[in-house]
């Protein structure tokens, strides 16, 4: 799959899912289990993405490097109710500084 195919397929499916809500009969998506799974999917996926992007190297092996320190700072910032962009910048800055110092 080329990058453009990925971009356009993801975009097309994203729109189809949004549009589905406007065209399907209400009871189809109204099921209790569907609601529960749909509410929990972003939680599971985002949590897995955090872990994979922080603790794995290409090839899938596990590691702890400057990204883990960045994540720790991000979590601290979130606990202190920092806004999104501040959280992201602090994490990046942490990793960048640690690497300049020769770690991770």
């Amino acid at each position: 799959m080329t990058l453009w195919t990925t971009v356009l397929a993801a975009s097309g499916l994203a729109f189809a899912l949004k549009f589905l809500g406007y065209v399907v009969p209400h009871q189809v998506l109204d099921g209790v289990i569907v609601s529960r799974v749909t509410a929990m999917l972003p939680v599971a996926l985002l949590s897995a993405l955090v872990v994979v992007q922080t603790f794995t190297v290409s090839g899938g092996g596990l590691t702890v490097d400057a990204r883990a320190a960045g994540l720790a700072v991000a979590v601290t910032a979130l606990l202190l109710r920092a806004p999104f962009l501040v959280v992201v910048i602090l994490a990046a800055a942490t990793a960048a500084v640690l690497r300049t110092l020769g770690w991770g």
């Binding site: 975009s11 949004k18 209790v32 929990m40 985002l46 949590s47 603790f55 979130l78 962009l85 960048a96």
Partner: protein
């Protein structure tokens, strides 16, 4: 169906809310743009994601999986699983907006966490509609502008690791996850998904561990409901992305 006109004061209140959510959300379009070019997507591919896909978490997932060397199919699948909640929002919005015909196309495209959250946060139908369209348009315009800005900045920065951009991606996912962790069950699902991802990761191609971790959500949905059942049933479109809560 035409809703009664809003008094000027209420109208201004709602519009202010739309704009502030638009600005807050637009601000992190910068990080998306920068991460996307760092992941190896071109400027135009980055612009296409913001203009066409237009759903923050899914966009971050696509570039995150591409950056990790994952297969395109895994990126598309993760993006789509994340996008399923927009379908549920659409279901709610189609009731509030009463749109028909071609107007459902822009309505669907603007159906995201933020526009849904602002709309259902209003008590009266006219304000709900204004909140949806106002927030959707404000976020759409600002998100796309800041994406371009971020992509240009990212291109100028060069090596992403030097500036810690590879640490920015998990921080962004963490910030998107944060407001969804209010219930104990959500925290349990997040914990289970994290463990599954760690265990699967050394044994599967990039992108697959995240999809396997989605099983945690499916199992949680099938288990007998506990505390959050009521909450989810009464308000299926629970919390919005990021910090943009009105």
């Amino acid at each position: 169906m035409r809703a009664p006109r809003l008094p000027d004061q209420r109208r201004n209140e709602v519009l202010r809310q739309c704009l502030s959510v638009g600005v807050a959300t637009g601000a992190y379009g910068i990080s998306f743009g920068a991460l996307s070019v760092a992941a190896g997507l071109s400027l135009w591919q980055t612009i296409a994601l913001s203009a066409l896909l237009f759903s923050g978490a899914s966009q971050f997932a696509v570039v995150g999986i591409v950056a990790a060397g994952g297969a395109g199919a895994a990126a598309v699948a993760t993006s789509s699983l994340l996008g399923m909640r927009n379908g549920l929002y659409g279901l709610q919005m189609s009731r509030l907006l009463a749109v028909r015909g071609l107007r459902r196309v822009p309505a669907a495209q603007l159906t995201i966490d933020e526009s849904t959250a602002v709309a259902i946060g209003q008590p009266e139908p006219a304000a709900q509609r204004l909140g949806f369209w106002g927030t959707g348009l404000a976020v759409y315009v600002l998100w796309n502008l800041t994406t371009v800005l971020g992509a240009l900045i990212g291109n100028a920065l060069g090596d992403p690791k030097r500036f810690g951009l590879d640490a920015a991606a998990p921080a962004a996912f963490c910030a998107l996850l944060w407001p969804r962790l209010k219930s104990g069950d959500a925290r349990a699902v997040a914990g289970a998904a994290a463990v599954i991802a760690v265990v699967v990761s050394p044994h599967a191609p990039a992108g697959i561990p995240v999809l396997v971790a989605a099983l945690a959500a499916i199992v949680a949905g099938l288990l007998p409901a506990r505390g959050w059942r009521k909450q989810v049933l009464e308000d299926p479109g629970t919390p919005p992305d990021g910090q943009a809560q009105p």
